[in-house]
């Protein structure tokens, strides 16, 4: 094997290993970064990041402002929740987003998580000012999985829907469509209902990305092993052949 071929193999191996290590590292960082809660970007009008009836996952955690009016729909109280370690209930309301604010030219309905109260307290969840123009600022949350069955509530109020998950698809039949698939967690709250604190940064690891990272590093190790074997074998051959030539 000529010195040139040897240099070529070393260069190609180094490149392959570098690429594998880099791709593996990229997957590794993705694995621990993916759990975003609230994105650092300042709040923008919702139409810039999300339109009704489209997938929410790419924009979860983005901060947005929404202009609209509270829809004439029953308020939703989400029971059996925990906030700051305390038993709590959440209030979700339908907000009719104006045709000019959706980005599609038609009105749409957005589920707004108005705030929370300690379980057992009893502020009125119903809308005080229907049809009043409001601007809500908050961050977008992913919808939760819908649950089966209705929760048991001790003293249910007339005209209130009780549930145990923040899942807009559960209300899709009642609320005017199209619906946003994300939920806006409001910063504003209102008397009796405090704004929900942003969830703490989660450190759960993404198994899929870790699997990919390990695979890339294995491929790098493969490349290293093969070129080492190849150089060893060919080096020996070259030594054996040299006296003959």
């Amino acid at each position: 094997m000529s010195a040139l071929a040897r240099a070529g193999v070393i260069a190609v191996t180094a490149l392959a290993v570098a690429v594998c290590v880099a791709l593996g590292w990229w997957q590794w960082t993705r694995a621990s970064q993916q759990a975003i809660t609230v994105a650092p970007e300042p709040a923008v009008p919702i139409a810039e990041v999300l339109t009704p009836a489209t997938k929410a996952s790419p924009v979860v955690g983005r901060q947005v402002t929404v202009a609209g009016t509270w829809a004439d729909e029953a308020p939703v109280v989400v029971v059996d929740r925990t906030v700051d370690g305390e038993p709590a209930e959440l209030l979700v309301r339908a907000l009719t987003v104006g045709a000019g604010a959706t980005g599609t030219g038609e009105t749409a309905t957005l589920a707004v998580l108005v705030g929370w109260r300690a379980a057992g307290e009893d502020p009125d969840p119903s809308v005080v000012q229907k049809n009043a123009q409001v601007t809500v600022t908050g961050y977008l949350r992913a919808p939760e999985e819908a649950t089966v069955g209705e929760p048991t509530v001790a003293n249910p109020q007339e005209g209130v829907v009780y549930t145990d998950s923040v899942s807009p698809s559960e209300w899709a039949q009642e609320w005017p469509s199209p619906l946003y698939s994300a939920v806006l967690s409001s910063y504003d709250g209102e008397p009796g209902w405090q704004p929900l604190p942003p969830p703490p940064p989660e450190t759960h690891l993404n198994f899929r990305s870790i699997a990919y990272a390990v695979e890339w590093w294995l491929f790098g190790a493969f490349a290293l092993f093969i070129s080492w074997r190849w150089m060893r074998d060919n080096g020996r051959n070259a030594q054996q052949k040299e006296p003959a030539t």
Partner: protein, 131 residues
């Protein structure tokens, strides 16, 4: 494969390496076809059912690990046969190019079974010599 005398003349370790390689070539090749079929459904037919997408990404992950096992069998056989570097790439490529693994596997198996250590020459020729 029906060439009994040539097969019995093989080193049992070579025969084992060949068998492992052939099994993995079949499994990897089949899995790759499933992955490709899934990709067509995902990107061309544009199915966006979450369950389907979840299954698709798991199939791709499983294929990734099966491919690594395949690579181990490839390297084992390749080392035993003292083939050229080019042959290693062709065999490794079999796990990522649809249908290639089946073609390469046939060629490799014929060559090994006929006792041909003439990498690069067509397997047909090598078999002809034995016959």
């Amino acid at each position: 494969m029906t060439d009994a005398p040539a097969q019995s003349a093989l080193d049992p370790r070579t025969r084992g390496a060949l068998l492992r390689y052939r099994v993995m070539a079949f499994v990897t090749g089949t899995f790759l076809l499933v992955v490709c079929f899934d990709m067509i459904l995902k990107y061309i037919v544009k199915i966006d059912d979450p369950t389907f997408l979840e299954i698709t990404s798991w199939i791709a992950i499983v294929h990734g690990w099966i491919y690594i096992i395949y690579l181990v069998t490839v390297v084992q056989l390749w080392l035993r046969q003292h083939w050229a570097l080019g042959r290693l790439f062709t065999m490794a490529l079999g796990g990522v190019v649809p249908f290639l693994s089946f073609i390469v596997e046939r060629k490799v198996a014929r060559e090994v079974l006929s006792g041909g250590d003439v990498a690069g020459e067509s397997a047909g020729d090598a078999e002809g010599e034995v016959a």
